[in-house]
Amino acid sequence: MITVYVVDVPEFRPMVETAEGQDGVRVSGPVKGYWTIEAATELRFNRKAMKMKPAVWYGIFTGGLNGEIADWGRDEVRVVGTNKPL
């Protein structure tokens, strides 16, 4: 299971908006200022779809990431599940 927490501020809200409605992705919240985005095996974010500037893109997991970044690029990131300790 992959869990991404997104702080509920304007800069990061496109992560929530683009995750909502994706197959296999569950979005809930915000609870106490954090959205929760969950997926079973894989989760992707696309910078251009989120209309996000690079300086924000490179910090998109600042809210917390229980998962492993499998591919990281300037425009797309793919996260998979991990057993690494939190």
Binding site: P10, Y34, F61
Partner: protein, 237 residues
């Protein structure tokens, strides 16, 4: 007379300092043994910037750049014999207006040449030491960029950070200057999130240090942050 002003009247001044360390209040940097703010009832606070200061070995170019090219008024200048710590050069200390009472200040040390270690480097470690000067509107930020470029200064593209949008350029000394627009005010959630991020970083950094290694990556901090946010969300309000 109040107790406070009485104490101010009797306070020591820097001319009594016998050493460089004493004159500048230089400690060994250790925080173990220092008392936390929570241990007394005193809430210290600051009220914005008075001045920033850096050394210059390019007096004429610095004045021309800040006063004549940027157009920031020269509002104060100190010229003095060297005093205080032993070996202090005679010096100039001069100030350009940066708005809201703040100034951009420089020291020029008479008869000194720039040591090698003060030569600017093209490295992010070097550029980390900078001051960001505020503008109030997007129109002002655009005006700064377009006007500086029209005056021949090389200016960075606009960079939108999370709550700031900035432009950067360098002065004749090679010092970076940032002009920035605050995009929104910070809210309570920003403070909560900052506390959790820094807690995650401090914990993982301490663990790495205990194992005599460096923190591997930001992902390590992000994973710990997930654990902390999970606990924070589940904790009773």
């Amino acid at each position: 007379m109040t107790e406070t002003t009485d104490r101010l009247g009797k306070r020591e001044d820097a001319s009594s300092a016998k050493t460089f360390n004493e004159a500048y209040g230089i400690s060994d940097g250790a925080v173990a043994g220092l008392k936390h703010a929570s241990s007394d009832s005193v809430q210290l606070s600051l009220n914005g910037v008075d001045h920033t200061a850096r050394p210059t070995w390019k007096l004429n170019e610095t004045v021309e750049f800040y006063r004549d090219i940027l157009g920031l008024p020269l509002v104060h200048a100190i010229s003095a014999r060297g005093w205080g710590p032993p070996g202090h050069h005679d010096f100039l200390h001069f100030f350009f207006d940066a708005g809201k009472g703040a100034t951009i200040a420089f020291f020029y040390y008479i008869g000194s040449e720039r040591p090698e270690k003060y030569v600017p480097e093209e490295h992010h470690f070097y550029f980390a030491t900078h001051t960001a000067w505020a503008v109030e509107t997007e129109a002002q930020l655009v005006q700064w960029k377009e006007t500086l470029e029209a005056r021949g200064i090389k200016v960075s593209p606009y960079t939108k950070h999370e709550i700031l949008e900035s432009i950067y350029f360098t002065d004749p000394n090679g010092y970076p200057v940032e002009v920035t627009l605050r995009l929104r005010e910070t809210e309570l959630i920003d403070e909560v999130d900052a506390r959790l991020t820094i807690q995650a970083a401090m914990e993982t950094e301490a663990e790495a240090r205990a194992e005599n290694r460096l923190l591997a990556d930001i992902d390590t901090i992000w994973r710990r942050k997930a654990k902390l946010v999970d606990a924070y969300k589940g904790a009773p309000a």
